[in-house]
């Protein structure tokens, strides 16, 4: 393998290859991977595959698909990977192929462009000029040297790079402009791989997590080995009542020491040691409330004796009734795990909210301690045996949680580098076009037809561009006019 690729460099010696040698295979491979047809195919097939992912919702729960499309269809979706199409092996392969394709194109073509920036293109014959797409023949009065000089000067003014060769019978000029347009195209070709590489690094070494955090709490961020304290969360409203922004004030703590504090909101994350904290959502907490309002009723008469607002986990004494109550727990969607004998919230929705009271009752008639659950929707569900009272939960104010997205993506800088390359590259190639002009200035034969003492020459002038024919034609015409009226 090693020896073979060395032989490549010395291509001057033809290898007596029996059958198909490495060189042929390599040439075929390059031919295939550098082909524009493959590029077009990839562009379009990626577009088609991407379309599937926009029509079919991605990463939904199974029942969502089954409800909409039926079980058979869903089985096919799974088999084809359509429920997460952008992470299937075939989509990834298409992207990889596009990278290989554009890299090969770069490898095949860029060296030529690079060389042409430094190379002599002035040794051309007259038939070459006459065969160009745009070509004219202009008789001009003047000497060979004088006319050449005039043309060179004009072209230089127009920003062309000019090479000239003066030979006894003729002068040849080569002028070029806008090579950056082609360099730009190849910059775009490299960028595809840069961007994909950045994305790959991100998905291999990055992470993305979601944290539900409550005001006043401190959370450890294991991947960053520091702590995050939620100082405050609040919502701003527009005049018409719609939400304007939601915000959290966060403090980073390292070993208990405050490092930095920032108020984040949507569009304005906190970045600390490469980890980004986004304000992503907010909602009502499902296991904490700030206040709950309670009616205390007489069990027999069903009359409201007193209404109190209970603070979270603070003991309240109702001396008149001989009661002390504490709001000790809350669940938004009551569930009971009978094996563990534990109450929990079945969901984050406030479907079946309930509070737990810790109460002590000492009156003339009764003395007891109890920890009843009081249901918002079912006030009469449980009776407290031996008590004179019944409790009714009439309302509560849930604690808000702030939803933080916590992300690290070490590939993102590379993606931005690739993005810059693609935008600069395509822009260069769109707005700068490569033009090449050739001139031969040939003295007219002195057969006596010209006036005495005045020499004349014929300028053969031709040019090409790889695109933007209209503007090039215009420029070509202007140049032709200019040469005709050259005053030397």
């Amino acid at each position: 393998m090693n020896g073979k690729s060395e032989a490549l460099n010395g291509q001057s010696a033809p290898r007596p290859a029996p059958g198909i040698g490495w060189n042929e295979v390599k040439a075929e491979l390059i031919e295939f991977f550098a082909s524009i047809k493959l590029a077009m195919f990839l562009f379009l097939i990626i577009a088609v595959v991407a379309t599937i992912g926009t029509v079919l919702q991605q990463n939904e729960r199974a029942d969502v698909y089954i409800k909409e499309y039926g079980e058979d269809a869903y089985r096919w979706f799974l088999r084809l990977g359509w429920t997460d199409i952008y992470h299937t092996w075939y989509f990834t392969s298409l992207l990889a192929l596009l990278c290989i394709n554009s890299l090969t194109c770069f490898y095949q073509r860029f060296p030529g462009i690079w060389r042409s920036m430094h190379q002599d293109k002035v040794s051309v014959q007259l038939p070459f000029i006459k065969n160009l797409k745009q070509t004219v023949e202009i008789p001009v009065a003047g000497t060979k040297e004088g006319v050449s000089k005039g043309i060179v000067q004009y072209l230089a003014e127009k920003g062309y790079m000019v090479l000239a060769k003066n030979e006894p019978g003729e002068a040849t000029l080569y002028a070029t402009k806008g090579i950056m347009g082609r360099v730009g195209a190849h910059m775009a070709h490299l960028s595809a791989t840069v961007i994909v590489t950045g994305g790959l690094i991100g998905s291999l070494y990055g992470f993305q997590e979601f944290g539900v955090c409550i005001e006043g709490q401190t959370y450890h961020i294991p991947k960053g080995s520091f702590d995050l304290r939620i100082d405050k969360f609040w919502i701003d409203y527009h005049e018409n009542g719609s939400v304007k922004s939601y915000n959290s004030t966060l403090t980073v703590l390292e070993k208990g020491e405050e490092k930095t504090t920032k108020t984040i909101s949507v569009n304005d994350p906190l970045v600390y040691k490469g980890i980004w904290f986004y304000q992503s959502s907010y909602g009502d907490s499902w296991d904490q409330v700030d206040v709950a309002r309670l009616n205390v009723k007489d069990k027999k008469t069903d009359k409201i004796l007193q209404t109190v607002d209970l603070q979270w986990k603070k003991e309240t004494a109702l001396d008149k009734l001989g009661l002390t109550v504490t709001l000790s727990d809350f669940v938004a969607d009551f569930g009971f795990n009978s094996s563990e004998k534990k109450v929990y919230s079945k969901s984050v929705e406030h479907e079946n909210p309930a509070i737990k009271l810790v109460m002590a009752e000492h009156t003339k008639k009764s003395a007891l301690e109890a920890t009843p659950w009081i249901f918002y929707h079912y006030p009469d569900l449980f009776d407290i045996p031996g008590s004179q009272y019944r409790f009714e939960l009439v309302g509560y104010q849930p604690r808000k949680f702030t939803g933080l997205q916590i992300t690290r993506d070490p590939g993102v800088t590379i993606v931005w580098i690739g993005s810059t390359m693609i935008v600069v590259g395509i822009s260069l190639s769109s707005f700068i076009y490569h033009r090449r002009l050739w001139f031969k200035v040939i003295p007219a034969r002195s057969d006596g037809s010209g006036a005495q003492g005045e020499s004349s020459v014929t300028v053969h002038f031709g040019g090409t561009t790889h695109k933007n024919q209209i503007d090039f034609n215009k420029e070509f015409r202007k140049l032709t006019e200019r040469i005709k009226t050259l005053n030397v």
């Binding site: 524009i36 926009t54 993102v412 822009s427 034609n473």
Partner: protein, 307 residues
């Protein structure tokens, strides 16, 4: 209620008038002058000299004036809307919902057309491109009223990124609209050529090569701009959604559109992809742009769907 709505209305009527005048202009031109051009695209000097007589000159001039006037009205409408937004919600961008975005696209299409007319002096293009600008404006005004007002932005949109990301993307749509219009024009002229010399259209439209080249140029303006717009969107998403790319339908669709035009510019380098095929492709590409702009907002769900 909103002053800008009145101005948008005026813009609509002016564009309608301009469009009608351009169509009239096409039919008022004298055929004779242009016969030679059709067969000889190489002598392309002829496309810059539209020689008109009689009515045609005046109609053409009035069409241009009305177009420019309509564009100024459009500018005023967008500006007024920006001020209204400023008052209501403290943001400025007059392209924050579907209606405003459509109006902005019309604005960009017409601006592009006016620049093209001043540079290349081909008025007949107006019959196609001003037509698209007018249709965009018309479609905007057909939106239900609640889409037309200046409601405050939801928090995710409330950012300075909206100024640059949205305007760049929409401007690229306008360039693709221009290319689509030119593609249509190419096909119309090509059909006329196949039918024979007698057609009036044959005589008044610029030659095929010119139309083809201009269409290509429009795409070459739109292509880098869309790339830039998508990347600005990715940067915004990196601040707002916590990731630069999340395969949300809208961003995926703009990538799809970009890939479609990527295939186009590479196709042009292979043989046989100029002229008719390229024109059909440009029209197809524009239909995809329309879907990306309208269809996605109304048919597919996703993070972008706030219209």
């Amino acid at each position: 209620m909103l002053r800008s709505l009145f101005l948008f209305d005026m813009t609509f009527w002016l564009y309608l008038a301009a469009f009608a005048l351009y169509v009239a202009y096409v039919f008022a031109r004298k055929p004779a002058m242009q016969m030679a051009v059709a067969g000889h695209p190489a002598e392309s000097s002829s496309f810059t000299t539209e020689s008109d007589q009689g009515w045609a000159v005046q109609i053409g001039q009035v069409a241009t004036i009305i177009t420019v006037f309509g564009w100024m009205m459009n500018t005023a409408a967008l500006f007024t809307r920006a001020m209204e937004r400023m008052q209501h919600s403290g943001t400025f961008a007059p392209w924050s919902n579907q209606f405003e975005a459509m109006s902005y696209v019309s604005w960009a299409i017409i601006l592009g057309y006016v620049l093209l007319e001043f540079r290349y002096r081909i008025k007949t293009i107006g019959a196609f491109v001003v037509g698209i600008g007018f249709i965009a404006m018309g479609a905007a005004s057909l939106l239900p009223y609640r889409y037309q007002t200046a409601e405050p932005l939801v928090p995710a949109l409330n950012s300075y990124w909206i100024y640059i990301h949205v305007s760049v993307t929409l401007t690229s749509y306008a360039a693709f609209a221009m290319a689509g219009g030119l593609g249509l024009m190419y096909l119309v002229r090509e059909r006329a050529e196949r039918k024979g010399q007698s057609s009036q259209l044959l005589a008044v439209l610029p030659d095929l090569e010119t139309i083809d080249e201009l269409g290509y140029k429009a795409i070459m303006v739109g292509f880098p701009m869309l790339a830039f717009g998508i990347i600005l969107g990715a940067m915004w998403a990196n601040y707002a959604w916590g990731g630069y790319w999340s395969w949300d339908p809208k961003e995926t669709w703009s990538l799809i559109v970009w890939l479609i035009y990527g295939a186009y510019i590479h196709a042009r380098m292979t043989r046989g992809w100029e002229g008719r095929r390229a024109a059909i492709y440009a029209v197809f590409g524009f239909l995809m742009v329309i879907f990306c702009f309208w269809g996605v907002n109304f048919l597919l769900s996703g993070l972008h769907a706030y219209a």
